[in-house]
Point group: C2
Chain length 416, copies 2
């Protein structure tokens, strides 16, 4: 057993013991712990910011990119927002103990499926220190123990936030081992987490494509992850013109760097105002890449084959003309990443066909793909958006961090 | 790309196309296909039995064990039972299209989560040829395409059953690619299935521990599997004596080779009739292995540490004395395989504590662990019993072969 494996084994064993206690904690106790954790984070604002300033100085000296530095940076406002996020999780509905369904068998056995925590959740993330608190709060509220492994550049910030968080757990009488921070920046610890089959129940990677791809490639533990959000908005021939333009612009440009942003616009050849739509998008300053027909409508760069499979996460949009909903469905089946796809149309039958046939975690009608978000979906938060097909799909919050068990209550039945 | 990889890639691509059609098939069409498949299997009884006779002759010449030969053997009665099984699946409630939950957001967006098929299911099994029809029927009824890889000793039998099955699909206008049989017995094809990430959505191994362990160790595709059923029945001090004896005997001895059989009996030191209980079990001819206290009650062999972690699947039972429900919970936490565990007690508070705290897929009160079965649970069938924690737990039938997607219906909403 390597040092990293031994470390993770020990942490996971303590996490399992803590998870057993947490699984029995009632909603009020978990909420109290998170409220106390939020207060502790607020109280430690100066300490956390000071630790972050040291991380920032090292990171700047180490030549971290401005974008990464911005993710790493904490201000008193950002610390307050982190604390607010933890307090908000305390107010969410607790899925644990909920009865999914119940049945009485002809022999009198009473069956019920009840929600129980998953167990031990491993979270592997990058430079944002707020994930330490966010992910721990969601895990604990769903009755799980969390093993947190943040980016090495955020070590001091993460330790300071974690120290405050576990004070909150202790105040409510919950075990501090319910939220453990991996104490080493040794990358072997990540490998040990990914191979901790039977010790860690699920791994949630939170970060860029490189991290998620590594986790998915190496993990022996189930992973809750999304890799790409190559999202499509399809403008049907029966779309309302104003709505089409407003949604297309919002879906692409509101925030270009989030996974719910539209990356490809599909326009029905029967849509009468294609040129105006393309012009409206061009007016936003977005770089447009079109197929030959789109190029005939406006002065846009030619899209190459690779464009249809690219998540730009930037002010770039590929545009293709298609033959109605069939053309859109064919394009989406070939190129979508199964995250979020939308149709804009006034024709309900066409919309229902699109909703039924697009095989993505989220399918929308007359709405912006930018709504693909746990908060917007009313989940109160999200630990991630899953593009996998198993267990949980789309935005995942507390329910996705639980599983169920079958309870069978009898009166002495034996099986014939 | 190796030959096996290319083969599986081609089969999975055709399966994906078939799955897309199947996902849209209505319940009546799927039921009609299975009814026709059942009729085709019945009509082909002679052909299937003749193919099986050739498989049996080769297997006997090859020295297959009597137990394996019995699993391989088909008779007209067994073929009829297989056909009946397929027809029974046609009558099950179709989960596809079911609405899990629905909500209207303050901005007017209407959200719903609806059940959709998983996609492409890979089934890897051993000598029982009936799995060809059982697994294909469950997959198709849940809207999935199946890729079936049976044991090499059953090649002819599987081909004959498969040929009948797909005639049924074709009669209902469903694509034959919805149930494909891997045409080679090359073991590399199994490896190619296990690594077909993104092509096959889930692998279901159906067979002995060796197969399941190999699948779990090698698979890059999610696996729905159970490895061990090290099940406990705990006789509490407050158990009714007659009930305790009847259930203990049934839980161990009704059928010793199934995964729901009890393997370890835990007896509360406060239970007043322990000696009679042990004697009742000894009377059945079961080999008993006890700790020192149990040995003091009856003439039984000494249990060694390994016994507490062994799934005998035979007429062997390990017995330990414990200190009440706390002792039982501690023993189970240490040794259970998270399959099925039961408490026998007249004390409701003790029972509820056991139900809440035992972390297994199925937890029972005053019932025999032998009820751990999809049919007994009212699921109508089962593709397996999952001891994993994610996606589906315990007996898995149609619902476990589905996932969900989020549908969002708007009226032009853009995200602020």
């Amino acid at each position: 057993m390597t040092e990293a494996t031994a470390l993770i084994h020990d942490m996971a064993t303590r996490a399992r013991a803590a998870a057993r206690l947490l699984a029995r904690a009632d909603t009020a106790t978990k909420a109290q712990a998170l409220t106390a954790a939020a207060a502790a984070i607020r109280a430690d604002t100066d300490l956390i910011c000071a630790a972050n300033a040291r991380d920032m100085a090292l990171a700047e000296a180490g030549g971290l990119s401005p974008a990464m530095l911005d993710r790493l940076k904490l201000t008193p406002e950002r610390v307050a927002a982190t604390a607010d996020g933890v307090a908000a999780v305390a107010a969410l509905a607790d899925p644990v103990g909920g009865v999914i369904d119940q049945a009485v068998r002809p022999n009198g056995l009473v069956l019920s499926r009840v929600r129980v925590p998953l167990g031990v959740v491993g979270i592997i993330y990058e430079s944002r220190p707020n994930v330490t608190a966010d992910a721990a709060a969601l895990s604990v509220m769903a009755g799980n123990a969390a093993i947190l492994r943040g980016g090495s550049e955020a070590t001091g910030s993460n330790r300071a936030i974690h120290a405050a968080f576990i004070r909150g757990l202790a105040e409510a009488g919950l075990p501090e081992d319910a939220a453990q921070l991996v104490p080493t920046t040794d990358r072997a610890a990540v490998g040990a987490m990914l191979s901790a089959h039977g010790l860690i129940d699920i791994i949630v990677p939170r970060g860029g494509k490189g991290l998620v791809a590594r986790v998915q490639a190496e993990a022996r533990v189930p992973v809750l992850a999304h890799l790409d959000g190559i999202n499509h908005t399809y403008i049907d021939g029966a779309a309302n013109r104003e709505m089409a333009e407003a949604i297309a612009v919002n879906a692409k440009m509101r925030r270009t760097g989030i996974c719910g942003a539209t990356e490809t616009l599909l326009i029905d050849r029967a849509y009468p105002a294609a040129a105006a739509l393309v012009a409206a998008l061009a007016d936003t300053g977005c770089e447009l890449r079109g197929d030959a027909e789109v190029q005939a409508l406006a002065d846009v760069r030619a899209a190459v084959e690779e464009d249809w499979d690219t998540e730009y996460l930037d002010a770039v949009l590929s545009i293709a003309m298609v033959d109605g909903v069939d053309g859109a469905l064919a394009h989406i089946a070939r190129h979508a990443s199964h995250h979020t796809d939308a149709i804009i149309t006034g024709d309900a039958a066409t919309a229902e066909r699109f909703l039924a046939e697009v095989d993505s975690a989220i399918v929308m009608w007359n709405a912006s793909t930018q709504f693909a978000d746990g908060g917007e979906f009313g989940l109160g938060a999200e630990i991630g958006i899953s593009t996998g097909r198993l267990h949980a799909r789309g935005p995942v919050a507390l329910e996705g961090l639980t599983t169920y068990k079958w309870l069978v209550r009898g009166t002495g039945q034996t099986r014939p």
